[in-house]
Structure formats: C-alpha cells, structure tokens
Amino acid sequence: MDFKERIYLWEIVKGLWITLRHLVYNLFHQRSMPTLHYPEEQRPMPARYRGRHRLTQRDDGSLKCTACMLCATACPAKCIYIEAQEGLPEGTEKRPQVYNIDMLKCVYCSLCVEACPCDAIRMDTGLMPPPADSREKFIYRIEELTKYPAIKHPNPPFLHRCGKL
C-alpha cells in the first residue's frame, strides 16, 4: 500500500467519482438503462429461445405428431406421456390420443425437439409457462400445446443447426 492507499481518502474519492459518474450518466440517459418495465415492456425473445412447447399442425389442423415417442425417449426428465391410437383413414397411420407434458418436470432442454423426426414438437412460442395453482394444471394436454402460435411462423425446422437462425 502506498501512501495514497494508506490514507483511505484518495481511493474513496476516486470511488465516489466513479459512482457519481454512473449516477449522472444514468440520470440523463434513463432510456438506456438495462432495466425493463416488465409487464408493459417485454424483452423480445431470441429466435432460439426454448419456451413453452407447441405441437405443430398440418394445414388441415391435424397434428403432425405420429406418437413415435422419440421425444418421450429422449426426455431426460421423463415428462412426456403419450398414448397412441390408430390414425384417421386419410391421415397418417398413427396419431396421439393423449399427449401430456408435465411442465413441472420439464427442464426445457429441447432434447425432445431435437429428437422429433416429424417436426411435430417445437419450443418456439417464446412463452414461459404461466403459473397455476394446482399440479394438474401444469400437465399440458394437446389443447394447451396447440394453443399458441410460434413467435416466428413458419420457423424452418432447426435451421439454426447450420447457423441460419
């Protein structure tokens, strides 16, 4: 410690100067502060944001999902529960009868999206799951999973694997 450090004051004044600088700058640049006024202002979610799941649909509104269970297999939290049923005569051979995601178990790793061979599940809603007051309400069924559109629709399947998104 040299003398300047030893007498406390010099460094304290320097420190005060730094904080004052921030104060004055922020006083006059309030808009550039990083804080968001949250409910009114919302951060734009990046295109890759892993949000709430979404089951994609074909143009006729039927689910793309074929209940192949790869997502349930890849899921490290084992939060996906699927029951298959015979498909409609005009559609694919198999379709899900039950497709539940337990959002309380989900860890948002997106391995299900990566596993899906049909582009049937995506996490591109840009939404977080809203709070609920019972465990049952956190089990999202097909209705909840098809409720929200993508933030960027159509979102080409996993283009970001090659860096284009």
Binding site: E5, A47, R48, P76, H160, G163, K164
Partner: protein
C-alpha cells in the same frame, strides 16, 4: 474469532452421478448444467469432451472454436458472479450490480445462442447443438469493449480501496504447499503463486494456439484470489478477441453418423436419416467399453469427468471431480484463527457453488 469450523455439505445433493447412469449419454448433458450453474457451458463442454474421448472423434475446427468461445464467456460470467457476490458480502453492493449487468449481457448472448440462459445444454456429443447465429460474433465483439470498462469500474472501486484491502489482505490465506495438499486447482491455487492452469499445463482444444497468461498471486489470500480472478477475466477477454478474429468457417459437428444426429432435413426427407435418428435416440450413442477421464480448466479449477462405459448406450458410472469440493474441505484450515466477518469474505472468495459441491 473462529476456533474451529465444520463445513456441512450435502444440502443440494441431487445424486447427479447416480442419475447419470439412468439415461443415455446425451441425457446427462442437461444434468451437467446444474453442476456449476454459473458456468454451465463449461460443464457441458467438459462432459462432452469426456464422452468424445471414447470415440476418438475429431470435432471440426469451428466446433472447437465455438466451444472455446462459450467456455471463456462462461469463465468471465463465473468470475463476475464470484467477485460480485464476494463484494456484496463485504458490503459493497454497487460492484455486484455493475458485474451482473455485464453478466446479463453475456447471458443475452448465450440465450440467443442456445435458447436458455442458465441451463444451456448447448454442447452435444460430437459437437454443439447449433452453430453461432448470424451476427452473433459481432455482438460479442462489441460486448468485449464494454466488459473491459466494467472491469475498470470495479477495479477503481475495489482494488486499491484500503477498506477492501484491509478486509481481504491476509484473510483466508493458504500456502502453496497446503493448497496443493488440499487439492486446490484453479484461481484459488494460482492465487498461492502456483501457475498451474490446465489450459497451459495440458492444452486441450486449441488453447495452445492462442496467447494468454496465467495470472498468479503470492499469498493465496482473499485479495490475491480477487486479483487473480480480475486478471483472468482480462485474459479471457484477450482470448475471446483472438478467437473471434480467427474464427474459421465450416461445420460445427463431427462427421460421424454413429454419434451425431443427422441434420433435420435428412431426418424429414430420407429413410436413412430417419433410421439414424431412431437408432441414436432409442439406443443412444454407444461408446466402446472402457473408461476415460477428461479434465478441463473450469472457472473454479479442474473439472474432471470420469466415465466408465460398458459398451451400452448408458453410462455405467459417471464421476465428477468438482473443483469446489477440495476448496470447501479446506474451509476449516482457511478460517481458523480468523474473525467471524472473515468467514464471509473467505467463503465468497473460494466461490463455492453448492450444485457442484454436492452434485
């Protein structure tokens, strides 16, 4: 005055190692996020490097560059948290906010890279989840200058401030011999004057291609740890600058269909891709039977993954060598004979992350 101290660990024990045996090799990656959650990316990288060692995989240059970039970013983020919270414990709140703002901006970048801030799950066995998005490197480059400024601010507020020096100098010190004896690694060891850094001592990825110094301290006390971490952040920034300047093009994932999932367009469009997808998801990657140990220089020190494979798609055993554990075990030694308030400073300076400590 602290007469004796007994660290009680295990309150965040989540059976990481046992749970890892339950799923496929890929399913462990999200678990690794939860080890040192301040620098999840580095855990991802370390784990994937360990599994890749089974296969002798060659990751394309760009993939390794990307991994190095995220690792160095994570190192900075981790040190920002460590110093920021340490300062809060000493009553200086403002530094924390300056650092956390910088960290937030780094997180924003991480988020646009992999879609999550804390629980990244970014790397994959054989590469990474996704290449850098467009314009990402430029955003990072712009952020680097800002980070230098933040470091300067905190430097100005703390480094020469006598109150800070009084609180940290000679506090929680340990000699180099004792530190090695306890198994210290990382900044805490370097603060004792031992210039041991796995990136230099046992270069992995491309650390031997770039210039950076290994900052060391002298006395191994809280103040030296602070200085070493500050210097390391500057070195990481230096590394990031070099990495960004020489970032090559090309693919990021290894070209091995037995390990890496096929590109999505192949999965949707060809039976071959579809079959590979199914095989890799159902059975997982299946490393040959054997065992590997891969250690990386994580933010806190040597983060090692020891994996035993029995040739199936599930790890037979995963063992983590967490940097925190030896640090925590030295707590009684570090704080003995010191004052109660020093405990807070010391604990903060060795950067105990319970997720990693208890696993």
């Amino acid at each position: 005055m602290i007469v004796s101290c007994l660290p009680e660990i295990g309150y965040l024990h989540r059976a990481f190692e046992k749970s890892s045996e339950k799923g496929s090799y890929t399913e462990v990656i999200p678990y690794t996020d939860r080890l040192n959650y301040c620098s999840a990316m580095m855990n991802n990288v370390g784990y994937c490097m360990a599994v890749e060692k089974f296969f002798d995989l060659t990751i394309p240059e760009r993939g390794i560059y990307v991994r190095m970039i995220v690792s160095e970013m994570s190192r900075i983020m981790d040190h920002l948290v460590c110093i920021g919270t340490n300062a809060v414990d000493l009553g200086a709140l403002t530094n924390f906010w300056y650092f956390f703002q910088a960290r937030e901006e780094l997180y924003d970048l991480i988020e646009s890279l992999c879609g999550a801030r804390l629980t990244t799950t970014y790397t994959r066995i054989g590469g990474v989840m996704a290449d850098l998005p467009e314009g990402w490197a430029g955003r990072l480059e712009a952020l680097l200058a800002k980070l230098y400024k933040v470091l300067e601010d905190v430097d100005g507020l703390l480094t020469k401030n006598r109150i800070f020096i009084d609180r940290t100098r000679g506090v929680g010190g340990i000699s180099a011999e004792d530190a090695i004896g306890y198994g210290f690694t990382g900044p805490c060891l370097r603060a004792c004057g031992v210039a041991h850094d796995l990136r230099k001592a046992n270069p992995y990825m491309f650390y031997d291609r770039f210039q950076f110094d290994v900052p060391t301290g002298e006395r191994g006390d809280v103040y030296d740890r602070y200085l070493v971490r500050m210097a390391e952040m500057r070195q990481s920034l230096r590394l990031l600058e070099q990495l960004l300047a020489t970032l090559p093009g090309g693919p990021v994932n290894a070209d091995n269909p037995l390990v890496v999932l096929p590109p999505k367009e192949k999965v949707y469009g060809s039976i071959e891709g579809l079959i590979s997808q199914f095989e890799l998801i159902i059975k997982g990657v299946q490393p040959p039977a054997g065992e590997v140990y891969v250690a990386t220089e994580a933010a806190n020190g040597e983060l090692g993954f020891y994996i035993v494979s029995d040739g199936t798609g599930r790890p037979y055993r995963v063992r983590v060598r967490p940097p925190c554990f030896p640090l925590m075990s030295s707590m009684p030694h570090l704080v003995k004979g010191q004052m109660l308030a020093d405990m807070v400073a010391t604990l903060g300076s060795i950067n105990i992350i319970a997720g990693e400590l208890d696993r």
